[in-house]
Structures are given as C-alpha cells and as structure tokens.
C-alpha cells in the first residue's frame, strides 16, 4: 500500500470588491489546476513548485487586503484521496478532450491552417500538462491527435 499523498492547501478570504484581485486570483488558481474543496479553500498535490506557487498567490491575496494561509494536509482515507485525484483528473481530461476535438476538426483544413492550429494546440497542451497531476488516458489521445496534424513528421517517425 503506497503512502498517502501530501497536499498543499490555500485557505483564503478576499473582499468581494474590487473584483480585479479576485479575477487575478481565479486565473492563477485555474492556471495551476487547483481543486476547490470549499468556498475559499483550494488544494494541490504537494511538491516544491506547487507550494511555492500557492504561496505567491497567498501573498497576492494579502496584498489585496485579504487573508490567506498555507497548510500541508493528508487525506483521512485512501478513498478520499482517490476521489480528490479523480476530480482533478476529470477536470484536465475535459481540457484534453477539447484539444483532441479541435485537432480532429483541423485535419481537413488547408496545410497552412493546419500548421497554425498545430502550433496553438501544442502550446495549449503544454499549459494543460503543467496542471495535470494525475494524467488521464485522454492526455495520450490528445497528444496523438495534435501530433497527427504534423502529418509528414508522423510518417517518418
């Protein structure tokens, strides 16, 4: 039985107005792929990078006259941990499915348009991978769909 994962929590309270810091925080949390546990409580699997990134967001909350603290936690049961990881995997899986669909839709377009889409989707995949802590099967499918657009490279691979 593998040891339980450690998680880093950001607990925060931010005034409703002005909305700019709230939107900046929301964007930051989305970019990092945090899972929302309750109002004002989000989590990520703990590593040096995730803890640091949440600490910086905490700092921004405090700069915006809010309150924020960072906590290290462990799920009380394996089932709870699986449920949380599952929710996170499902969230990125939806993003991967959107990328796959965009790649498939671009197959029949002109070579120039296909190349543009390929560049955009590769960038999107990189961003999703940064917040993908529990890679779902859709991750591989999306990569294959996107690289399929490269065509010529696929033939020589």
């Amino acid at each position: 039985m593998a040891a339980r994962l450690k998680w880093v929590f950001l607990l925060y309270r931010l005034p409703r107005n002005p909305s700019t810091p709230r939107i900046a925080l929301w964007r930051g949390l989305r970019r990092l792929g945090t899972v929302q546990l309750a109002d004002g409580l989000v989590a990520l699997p703990l590593d040096a990078r995730t803890k640091e990134q949440l600490e910086w967001l905490a700092e921004e909350v405090v700069d915006a006259c809010g309150e924020a603290s960072i906590w290290i936690a462990e799920a009380g049961s394996a089932a709870q941990e699986r449920a949380l990881a599952g929710r996170m995997a499902e969230a990125v899986a939806a993003e991967y499915r959107a990328v796959s669909a965009a790649a498939l839709a671009a197959r029949s377009s002109s070579p120039a348009a296909r190349r543009r889409t390929l560049r955009r989707l590769r960038r999107e995949l990189r961003a999703i991978r940064l917040r993908d802590f529990f890679p779902p099967p859709e991750a591989t499918e999306a990569r294959q769909a996107v690289e399929g657009l490269a065509g010529a490279r696929e033939a020589t691979a």
Binding site: A48, E55, W56, E59, D63, R126
Partner: protein, 143 residues
C-alpha cells in the same frame, strides 16, 4: 552584503542572484534558508514570502528587483520576459525560450546543490544576456 533566499533554487531565484551580483552588489554573499524566520540579521531577503523583493502585482521577483533598483537596461527587461514565463507561465509575455530555461534549471537543481547551481546558472544568464543584447541591437536573432 548578505542576501538570503529559499533553499532549493529555481529559475526566478537563480536569475535574481545573477542580477544582484551583476548590477547591484558584485560582492554579494548568498545564504539559503528554509523559512523566512531563518534569514540572518542584516541579510536582504529576496524571492521569499513577505519580502519586499518578492512577487508583487503579478510581477516575479526578478521584475520586482529591476523596478526597485531602477535598472532600466532593455536587455535585462527582455530577460525578465523569459524569466517571468519560465517561473509563472501565465502567458503575460511571448517567451518561447521560457519552457527550455525552466527545464534546464529544474534539471540542474536535481544534480547540484544551491551554490553550485548559482555558478552554472550565472554562466547561462551571462550567455543569455549577450544573446539578447545582440538580438535587440540587430533587430533579429543573432547567428
């Protein structure tokens, strides 16, 4: 002068240390700590929670230092674009160099301790500076 930052250096702190030695304090001595409470008296903390030289208003610490010390060298700001994206990847800037710089620093942090890492990344940032300086001068990528 003494400067303090968190142990386990990554790209923003490596870039800050290089910048501090290059443009602020050639004799800078770096101390690595686990917690803000361990910063020695008289040392200036950077890239740590609660430090003035940290992330502010969406800027990474490298950008904060450029602002606080009025370093208006355009090549340094071009490097800030790359460091910001390598550290935060928030797409504020177009920086195709960033993912490469990020993995190089991550890899080095697996094989070297913090003082060694600063020596190596110092040379990397010297090279990056020269490359970007020439690129800005020529208005195209240098050969």
């Amino acid at each position: 002068m003494k400067w303090a930052t968190r142990r386990g250096i990554h790209v923003d702190r490596a870039a800050c240390a290089w910048l501090i030695r290059r443009s602020i304090d050639p004799d800078a001595e770096f101390v690595f700590v686990d917690d803000p409470s361990e910063v020695p008296a008289g040392a200036t903390p950077f890239d740590m929670r609660g430090a003035e030289l940290g992330h502010h208003a969406g800027d990474c610490s490298f950008e904060t230092i450029l602002r606080r010390y009025d370093l208006d060298d355009e090549t340094l700001w071009d490097i800030a674009r790359i460091v910001h994206e390598a550290d935060l990847a928030d797409e504020r800037y177009d920086a195709p160099e960033a993912p490469g710089l990020d993995v190089i620093c991550r890899g080095l942090s697996m094989t070297h301790d913090d003082p060694e890492l600063l020596t190596i990344t110092g040379a990397i940032f010297d090279g990056l500076y020269e490359h970007r300086r020439r690129a800005l001068l020529l208005g195209r990528e240098p050969a």
